[in-house]
């Protein structure tokens, strides 16, 4: 099993690096909170991490728009919720959480990353295996706007 690569957030342009979460995190008809909590607790056997699945440019040396990320990583979701690294980290930090981003590419998802949280008060930065409600709230607030997916994956 490969060692998961955690990004050094200090090396990112936190106001420019786009993070995408497939789906509309503000859709009142979808059970968004449960979807996020359920996804977070899915362990990755390939990388050995827990966390929320997101898309982020795997090569920060070559900036990518959300349009380009959507085209490279086709998913079924009709909507995409957008944010930038700095907004997500800020929203989590205000509620006492730190954030780790792991590079976790998959065959069809070259820009797949896993967003994991820990308590800022924990010097060991122990990654949570479940997403707590305040962290869910922070993430939902951070991911805005929502846009139509310009390249939804063709349905079989």
């Amino acid at each position: 099993m490969p060692t998961p690569v955690a990004l050094d957030l200090g090396q990112l342009s936190v106001l420019a690096e786009i993070i995408i979460r497939g789906g509309d995190l503000h859709d009142a008809k979808a059970n968004v909170r449960q979807i996020m909590k359920n996804n977070y607790r899915v362990y990755s056997p390939r990388y050995g991490v827990y966390g929320l699945s997101v898309l982020m440019n795997a090569n920060p040396a070559q900036p990518a728009t959300y349009d380009q990320l959507a085209q490279r990583n086709p998913i079924f979701n009709k909507k995409l919720s957008l944010s930038v690294v700095g907004t997500v980290t800020g929203a989590l930090r205000r509620l006492g959480y730190g954030m780790m981003l792991y590079k976790t590419p998959a065959q069809d998802l070259p820009d797949h990353h896993t967003l994991a949280v820990f308590d800022l008060s924990d010097a060991a930065q122990t990654i949570h295996h479940e997403l707590q409600d305040p962290a869910v709230d922070a993430l939902i607030s951070a991911f805005a706007p929502t846009v139509d997916n310009p390249y939804p994956k063709p349905r079989p």
Binding site: R21, D27, V42, I75, F76
Partner: protein, 92 residues
């Protein structure tokens, strides 16, 4: 009636190390007790509740951490606004 199983389509891909084509990792039984109700190759509806769903089946792999389940998409992907008003709700 087929079981409804939570599946996050943000993870839909091939997972060649597990022999999975167009699948979604569902997780470890040890973490997600609902997965213990599944049977190998059981036909299910994979869904992100309120957003989209797909027909599929589930399959288990033994990994060092325990019993690990995948959902494999076989077709019939529907968005929530395409579903009849009386469609079932997920059990998991």
């Amino acid at each position: 009636m087929k079981k409804r199983v939570f599946a996050d389509f943000n993870d839909l891909s091939d997972y060649t190390e597990a022999g999975i084509v167009q699948g979604v990792p569902l997780g470890l039984e040890e973490d997600i007790p609902e997965l213990r109700q599944l049977q190998e190759h059981e036909d299910v509806i994979l869904e992100m509740p309120g957003e989209l769903q797909a027909d599929g089946y589930v399959t288990c792999r033994e990994i060092p951490q325990g019993h690990y389940w995948y959902g494999v998409v076989t077709g019939h992907v529907l968005y929530a606004d395409e579903l009849p008003a009386d469609h079932g709700q997920a059990a998991s």
